[in-house]
């Protein structure tokens, strides 16, 4: 009986996730996401990341949604201040609307407008590593 109830629940959850991914698959994502370069003074297209969108209410962690020159979602990025990576702080239930993840990059960033402190970029790539070239420049 329990299994019978579980099957439709999982199917529904899977469908909702797919719908969420569809909603952000092409730029621009719907509100409350906003173009980062219109929120702070940054280049519209950031080499290595792409064109970024974020819900300002989620700063600094994000998620930031990154798109290539054709408006295709390539990654979801979280920006975690290094000072917050300590025993008294955690980042829970960060939204992940981008769908399937191919691979993950984690690297240090010295800061930039919007997140003006050293932080870590956690990048969920939705494309294969070879396709990262689409946002290289």
């Amino acid at each position: 009986m329990k299994k019978l109830l579980l099957v439709p629940f999982l199917t529904l959850a899977s469908s909702l996730a797919a719908m969420a991914a569809d909603e952000v698959a092409k730029a621009p994502p719907a509100a409350p996401f906003q173009q980062v370069s219109k929120l702070v003074k940054l280049p519209d297209f950031l080499p290595g990341m792409g064109q970024l969108f974020v819900d300002p209410a989620t700063l600094p962690a994000g998620p930031f949604l990154a798109y290539d020159h054709d408006g295709k979602l390539v990654s979801t990025i979280y920006m975690l201040p290094t000072k917050d990576l300590n025993p008294d702080k955690s980042f829970d239930n960060l939204a992940a609307p981008g769908g399937n993840v191919d691979h993950v990059d984690v690297y240090y960033n010295a800061g930039h407008p919007g997140v003006e402190e050293p932080h870590v970029h956690v990048v969920l790539w939705h494309v294969a590593a070879a396709s990262e070239a689409s946002v290289a420049k």
Binding site: P43, P47, G48, Y107, A110, G111, H112, E116, H121
Partner: protein
């Protein structure tokens, strides 16, 4: 009282304001513009001014240009007007370029002798700072002492300043 001027130059992006240097006698010998590059690694892991320390003459212009295609930078004086302790000569005017996008520039003509410390707003905590010394050391032995106010300045920034003596000796101190 300093008469430092502030001009913003638009370089490489379709023009902008052109710096208008006055043609005083002082400017004739100090006409060479000192260029300071705002730079960063492609992944944003490191950012810096280069050179990080320069010795210039009174009346000489310094121009900062953002050569970092993936980031914005500022040149901002350590001054109470910018919410920071005073680390420029008391008589000098404060400055803040605001964010410079890639290829944008900002220039100032320095006239007041002394030590000027400045930083990049989003990258101060990452140690992106610089130091300019204006004047002739042999004629002004006392003024070159580094200004001491450091409350509110991150350790990474304090560690990054080149020594006054090193700038005096080399005139230009590049990024290590």
């Amino acid at each position: 009282m300093t008469v430092a001027r502030r001009e913003v130059l638009g370089l490489g992006l379709g023009g902008g304001l052109v710096a208008a240097l006055s043609l005083s006698r002082r400017d004739v010998w100090a006409e060479e513009v000192v260029e300071i590059r705002m730079q960063g690694r492609a992944d944003g892991a490191q950012v810096w001014f280069d050179p990080i320390g320069v010795l210039i003459k009174p009346g000489q212009m310094v121009r900062w240009t953002n050569y970092n295609p993936g980031n914005s930078h500022t040149t901002t004086a350590y001054h109470p007007a910018n919410g920071k302790p005073l680390r420029i000569p008391e008589a000098a005017k404060s400055w803040d370029s605001d964010y410079l996008l890639p290829d944008e520039s900002f220039s100032i003509t320095f006239t007041e002798q002394g030590v000027y410390d400045y930083y990049c707003i989003p990258h101060e905590q990452a140690g992106m700072v610089g130091r300019i010394i204006v004047g002739e050391p042999e004629a002004h032995g006392g003024w070159m002492e580094p200004v001491a106010a450091s409350r509110g300045v991150p350790d990474e920034a304090l560690k990054a300043f080149p020594m006054v003596e090193e700038i005096m000796a080399k005139r230009i101190v590049g990024r290590l």
